[in-house]
């Protein structure tokens, strides 16, 4: 997946983000830009701060310092507004014009609306991202209903189309997720997240915890979806094979800091930092 995305507009501007639970526990002084249509992989060993950074980027956890700026092109309507707009008091009323949102300055209401309506989040454990008590169809339809879709027949048709797209049997639309295998649950979570065509998707180890053969098929499917929908993705993984397959660009983390960043193939084939070299070689040796 080589795609120099630099000429596309900046979607996410991450400025000097720090979130520390203790010395070297968390993430520190992280600075980067994500361009529209780009898949950025965050790699590093367990405990290096990948998930912490992702939570901050996704608006789930405020940083100790730094800013996350989300830019949408100025002619786009602000979807995040529809959920809350009329009841929110002033303060940030000029934002349509500037079309750049400072994630932790806009207030929880709009931050949550953003995540619900315009972004997507795929958890490692599908149980964290699914409603286990309701059917597959209801899971896929929820974000559409939150956006105001009120036609049962259409919701159902969309649900079935998405099940087909993620290679689930549409005949199981009324089945509860708990009757699905782990790999199927992960497909369902992905369908549920992508059904609203989010502009930006965060994924934390989306293939973790799955059998190798199941992983391979899921990866293949994700790759196709990313290309077809032109998704912009921040992908956390400790698996360099996953990173190689999905990410255009990589950021290598260690002890909460970024040690190296660059195009995926460049980093994996010619790592500069000694930690990256170690990481790459430990993967290459079986």
């Amino acid at each position: 997946m080589k795609k120099p995305a630099q000429e596309y507009p900046v979607l996410l501007d991450v400025q000097d983000i720090t979130r520390l639970y203790g010395p070297a526990k968390g993430c520190e002084a992280i600075d980067f830009r994500l361009h529209a249509g780009e898949v950025l992989g965050i790699v590093g060993e367990s405990g290096s701060g990948k998930s912490t950074l992702l939570r901050v980027l996704a608006g789930l956890e405020a940083p100790d310092a730094g800013r996350v700026i989300y830019r949408r092109s100025s002619n786009e309507p602000e979807a995040a507004r529809t959920g809350t707009g009329k009841h929110e008091s002033g303060g940030d009323q000029k934002e349509n014009a500037e079309a750049a949102l400072d994630l932790y300055a806009i207030g929880e209401a709009r931050r949550r609306a953003l995540l619900r309506l315009e972004w997507g989040l795929v958890h490692q454990n599908p149980r964290d991202g699914l409603r286990m008590g309701v059917s597959a169809g209801a899971n896929i339809g929820e974000r559409l209903m939150a956006q105001g879709q009120r036609h049962y027949g259409q919701l159902r048709a969309t649900g079935q189309a998405w099940m087909r797209q993620v290679e689930l049997d549409p005949g199981r639309i009324d089945d509860a997720p708990r009757t699905f295998s782990g790999g199927m649950q992960q497909r369902l979570q992905i369908a549920r997240t992508l059904v609203t065509r989010p502009r930006l998707v965060f994924m934390d180890e989306p293939t973790g915890g799955l059998d190798v053969s199941v992983q391979a098929r899921l990866l293949d499917m994700l790759r196709t979806l990313v290309r077809q929908l032109g998704l912009s993705v921040v992908l956390v993984t400790h698996d360099l094979a996953v990173a190689r397959l999905l990410a255009h660009r990589l950021m290598v983390m260690r002890h909460g800091q970024v040690v190296e960043t660059g195009l995926t193939d460049q980093i994996l084939d010619d790592p500069q930092h000694e930690y990256t070299q170690l990481l790459v070689s430990s993967v290459l040796t079986p």
Binding site: G83, T84, G137, A138, E142, M145, R150
Partner: protein, 277 residues
């Protein structure tokens, strides 16, 4: 009456409830917390409704109390006696004669008029509770209008039963803003919430919440375009008064399996029989 303030509650408690009620009326459908008092009856007996009635009742008001539409159940009778004793107010079974009607489960069939107040006893005030156990989170969901899950529930009904199977406590949206649980009334009564000339107050004793639908407020039952909201219908008419538009209860008439359908609203049924006779 010795030892009791008028209508049992002390004036300070009443003032506190009045303040909460003013807020509730100002923000239709919004749940206002109030510092509820212990009442001399168990929660299941409608202490939330009793506290609201006690704080709004005036000495000249005429009170009606119904339970499942009937004036003569144990619950209705004991609440009525309670207010006769602690407030000395006049009581009635006639919907048209009442100034204040405390109810559990039903809205009278006889249309209410401006100036009347209907007080509901509410067991579970939070419509989002089924999906979210945390009170802090549900308050946030209301504040942000995160109501997608309400339709998830209705979707699931249709997927499972082919139609929206929710028949009681059917969720509504009040004045285009707050999703509200109309409490244990049958969905048959939901249309009566919409634009009603009477003031409707809801009190939950255990959870210490109250909310309101002011007169003439638009109230809409949640549904889908292709599965619109519908009320219950019966093939029968009332076996006693012949009404074909009231909410019917099935009653057993003998021990040989004899049954009939009669109005759940006893005052409505009796009045009609009086009219017919």
């Amino acid at each position: 009456m010795d030892g009791y303030n008028f209508a049992y509650l002390d004036e300070q408690t009443k003032r506190m409830i009045h303040r909460a009620l003013l807020k509730a009326v100002a923000i239709p459908g919004y749940q206002v917390p109030f510092g509820g008092r212990e009442m001399p009856m168990p929660y299941g007996w409608g202490t939330g409704g009793v506290q609201l009635t006690a704080s709004i009742l005036g000495a000249d008001d005429i009170l009606k109390v119904i339970d499942q539409g009937a004036d003569d159940t144990t619950n209705a009778v004991s609440i009525r006696h309670f207010f006769q004793r602690v407030a000395g107010v006049e009581t009635t079974t006639a919907t048209t004669a009442a100034d204040v009607i405390q109810t559990r489960h039903r809205i009278p069939e006889t249309p209410l008029r401006a100036g009347q107040i209907l007080v509901f006893q509410v067991p579970i005030p939070e419509p989002l509770r089924f999906i979210e156990p945390s009170e802090q989170e549900t308050r946030l969901m209301h504040a942000l209008e995160e109501y997608g899950v309400m339709h998830v529930k209705l979707y699931e009904d249709i997927a499972r039963y082919g139609h929206i199977a929710t028949t009681y406590a059917y969720p509504v949206k009040v004045d285009g803003r707050y999703v509200m649980d109309p409490s244990p009334i049958p969905k048959f009564d939901n249309p009566k919430l919409d634009g009603n000339p009477a003031l409707m107050l809801f009190g939950a004793g255990r959870e210490k919440r109250l909310y309101a639908i002011p007169p003439y407020t638009p109230v809409e039952s949640l549904d889908f375009e292709d599965h619109p909201f519908e009320i219950q219908r019966w093939e029968h008419s009332c076996a006693l008064c012949g009404s074909d538009r009231s909410y019917l209860d099935e009653v057993i008439t003998d021990d040989k399996g004899g049954r009939m359908f009669v109005c759940s609203d006893t005052d409505y049924c009796q009045t009609r029989r009086g009219d017919v006779a």
